[in-house]
Assembly symmetry: C2
């Protein structure tokens, strides 16, 4: 057992001085050893001060150094071996294949940022050369580059113990940007968090970076997270979780003397629209894909398809029959922790009073925190009139909205708040005849999918994992994909700056060979 229950603060593993708690195996309800210590507010301050001290060094680190660091993080995660996999399984109830897959995703994400950062595109380097003879006024030499925003607080998410947690996408993109990171690990998977932090700490050391580059702080309440967001040195926050959790952080930021950007991805119901021709053509196949997507990971994805909208009729009934049968066959699945399980039970029970229950999965055997899948339904009129049934229930439940015609379908979609994703199933050429629907849906989502399912968020350059509020706090950013780095950089303009003191990205000869905007034109040429 290499898990100590300690905090990582400024490169040192120390016991938290604010008490301790134990993670719980959600499959059995049993306590997991060792106890995890909780960081005190003084320890949070110490970690934040170390991050602030590291910030200037990281800001000036070369793109190559950052790439090397990110790749070393990936290597060290793999080197944790099976202990990581077993611990993550025990703490989350997720199966081995999923954890191994998620580990691959996490490493892939780090390596993608390594590749991306050395290209230097994210720097958006811009040079407007001096025009000393311009009339009526000369133009000075002006150079623009993105640089790290400063220390970033990252909150581990419960549902991705690796890919959206200690060394997940927020951390990877903040490191790529040259920011120190302080992670508040999720208490549900504290051992997993510590192991991942061990890997990052080894990477920090191997790469000769300042010890304040990364700290892990654990706690079981809101104290550690609040102290982080309130610390004056923290310049941005990355969060994935519930609406209530995200908005609590936004509120803390707004109350700071210096408010900071809080990028919170807060989930959504991810509407899936089934157009008539698609249903006619392949109701069974769509239903099978839908049920698979709904039950994957016991429905605990931000992009879980929690809402289906379609025009009522025999084809929709056929879809419901097949999907309902698949859901009825689904044994109860282990949820991530007691809080999530309880919220799911309450959520479904509330919804059941307001909607019709079409199908339910197998019942829990009473051990651990097991969820019973559910398929509910209501009419479009009921849906439009009752915003309470627009809210996400985190878990394997989906609501089918029966619309009387295409117009009502558009009206139901128009009633939606911001979503991470929206999906349309259509036959070839069918989408063109539903352009109003596509327009309305596009304005409510960060990602619009055709003939697919929203689960499975590809880590790539074109991904948007964000969306209009309340899917995320700022529709202008994404938390997955290479542009996630944009959350943690800010531009600075250097005017008439001495050539020898300019960052490499802005030097005349373009020593990095990056693409720059010189007097408005994109070029890799020097000047």
């Amino acid at each position: 057992m290499t898990i100590s229950g300690n905090q990582l603060i400024n490169g040192q593993w120390v016991e938290g001085t604010a008490g301790s708690y134990n993670a719980v195996n959600p499959a059995t309800g049993e306590t997991l050893e060792p106890a995890m210590s909780k960081a005190s507010s003084a320890q949070v301050e110490e970690a934040v001060a170390a991050a602030e001290a590291a910030a200037a060094t990281l800001r000036k680190s070369s793109l190559e150094q950052r790439a090397q660091f990110l790749n070393t993080c990936a290597d060290e995660i793999l080197a944790l071996g099976d202990e990581l996999v077993q611990r993550a399984m025990a703490e989350t109830g997720l199966p081995e294949a999923r954890i191994i897959g998620e580990r691959g995703r996490t490493m892939g994400q780090l390596r993608m940022f390594a590749d991306y950062v050395v290209k230097g595109d994210y720097l958006d380097a811009r040079i407007d050369t001096a025009m000393p003879d311009r009339e009526p006024l000369p133009r000075p030499d002006l150079r623009y580059v993105k640089q790290s925003i400063g220390p970033v607080a990252v909150f581990g998410a419960s549902n991705f113990p690796l890919a959206f947690s200690v060394a997940g996408g927020d951390t990877a993109s903040a490191f790529a940007a040259g920011c120190p990171v302080l992670v508040k690990g999720h208490s549900s998977h504290s051992g997993t968090s510590e192991l991942m932090a061990q890997a990052l700490a080894r990477a920090v050391e191997k790469c000769g970076l300042p010890s304040g580059t990364f700290s892990l702080l654990m706690g079981a309440g809101r104290e550690v997270g609040s102290a982080l967001v309130q610390a004056p040195e923290i310049k941005a926050v990355g969060f994935t979780g519930s609406l209530a959790g995200g908005m609590a952080l936004v509120k803390l930021s707004n109350e700071r003397p210096e408010p900071i950007p809080v990028f919170a991805e807060m989930g959504s119901v991810n509407p899936v629209v089934l157009l008539p021709e698609a249903l006619k053509e392949r109701a069974d196949k769509i239903a099978e894909g839908f049920a698979f997507s709904l039950n994957m990971g016991v429905g605990q994805f931000c992009t879980n398809p929690g809402l289906v909208l379609a025009i009522d009729g025999p084809e929709l009934n056929q879809f419901i029959e097949v999907a309902g049968a698949k859901i009825a066959d689904q044994p109860a699945g282990v949820m991530l922790n007691e809080t999530i399980h309880q919220a799911y039970q309450e959520g479904v029970s509330n919804y059941c009073g307001q909607t019709e229950t079409l199908a339910q999965g197998g019942e829990s055997d009473g051990t651990g925190f097991k969820a019973r899948a559910a398929l509910l339904s209501c009419s479009a009129q009921e849906f439009i009139a009752n915003p309470k049934i627009h809210e996400e229930i985190f878990g394997p439940v989906s609501l089918i909205v029966r619309c009387s015609d295409a117009e009502e379908l558009v009206a139901a979609v128009s009633a939606l708040k911001g979503q991470l994703t929206g999906t349309v199933h259509c036959a070839d050429g069918e989408l063109a005849s539903h352009s109003a629907l596509a327009d309305v849906l596009a304005q409510r989502v960060g990602r619009l999918l055709i003939n697919g399912f929203p689960t499975g968020v590809e880590v790539c350059h074109a991904m948007v994992h964000g969306g209009p509020f309340p899917a995320a706090t700022d529709v202008r950013f994404t938390s997955v994909g290479s542009t996630a780095i944009d959350r943690f950089v800010r531009p600075i303009c250097l005017q008439n700056y001495p050539q020898e003191l300019l960052p490499d990205a802005l030097k005349n000869e373009n020593p990095l060979g990056i693409l720059r905007t010189v007097n408005g034109e994109k070029t890799r040429e020097g000047i």
Copy 2:
């Protein structure tokens, strides 16, 4: 007289139904005719609904159409002729040359965005092509593009009646992004606002754009602005003005069911650091440049040099002697309006009790709203201990902070909050030996200038007019320069989207010929 005192709502000029007020000539204190009507909240709603109706059309408008519209706006502003110049002079007290220059800047800004938008770089188009055979899971086709955020509310600034007002940088960048704009015109220059709105309305009509593309709403209190920011259809806000004004808008946004980005540029004191060798070499010349920059526009620039920091000694005294003499020679200047004049008087009077007065400009003759320039001083210790004298006083006053040595200079700079600009005057090679100072200053500013003065914000690709809070609400954006467009766009990802329905920017053959990121590589090639 072509000024009606009416509102522009959905392409119609109508009288505001919430009363009226008159602008005042600040040089004389005399009331200007005609009376300007005030928009009622129902009229604000009407304008917002029209903008919402226009949003989808504008979002889909081609880059060429937007460029043509922006250029037509510039043409129509010029066509307003001398009436615009005379009215702006009467409403602001600014001289003819300044107004004509500012008109040129305003037109240049619109034309710059026209040129910029057709390049398509701001779209950041990205394509990750499908990998159907990838193991363990295939990759779908994913395409990313920036699109307009929706209707934008813009607040006219008092100090730039043309360039930061009705057709200023916020409006130009929002139009470039494909957003409808609703301007709350500044009550100090309401006739100027109406004339500019007439020009924009003609451009909307000539270009065949929806009538909701642009509306002008006037008012003399906070009602119109509050109604705008609270309207659910408004998706972003652009503001230039005071800290109190900007933060009031942020508060309104935070209280919305759907908070929206409020980009407020709220000014700063723009510290100017004089390094010892520079002072030895050319104290007189720097002092002359400084006094000129301080008094320009009666000190009513966001980038006015309100703070000078230097090591005490005979060279600094020489600087003070020359700058003080220039300031003492300065006749009292007309400020923009009574509120600004009163705040200036009170601000200087408060500061005088806490600092030493080194020089004062000529006294007001008592007519209109005239300001007396002032040069104040204090020690670094006094400065560091008293955050009250860090606040901006909008107008021609500057505070000189005498530091005992280089270390205290860094300490004084470290005590600063976020600034739009920071300036260092140095001799050749001198900056390299003050790297700690340069680092500390860089982290507190949006633009760092060497051997210049902060007034004069070039409209170009490399400009940053923004900065750490409280200079602006979001350090990641600028309100001047081509990247100002980034405030008003948001990414969307289209997954497996039908080729024929994709926006041109994302079509395989790249019909726009724009630079795109295809599978991680920048290219103009089609796929």
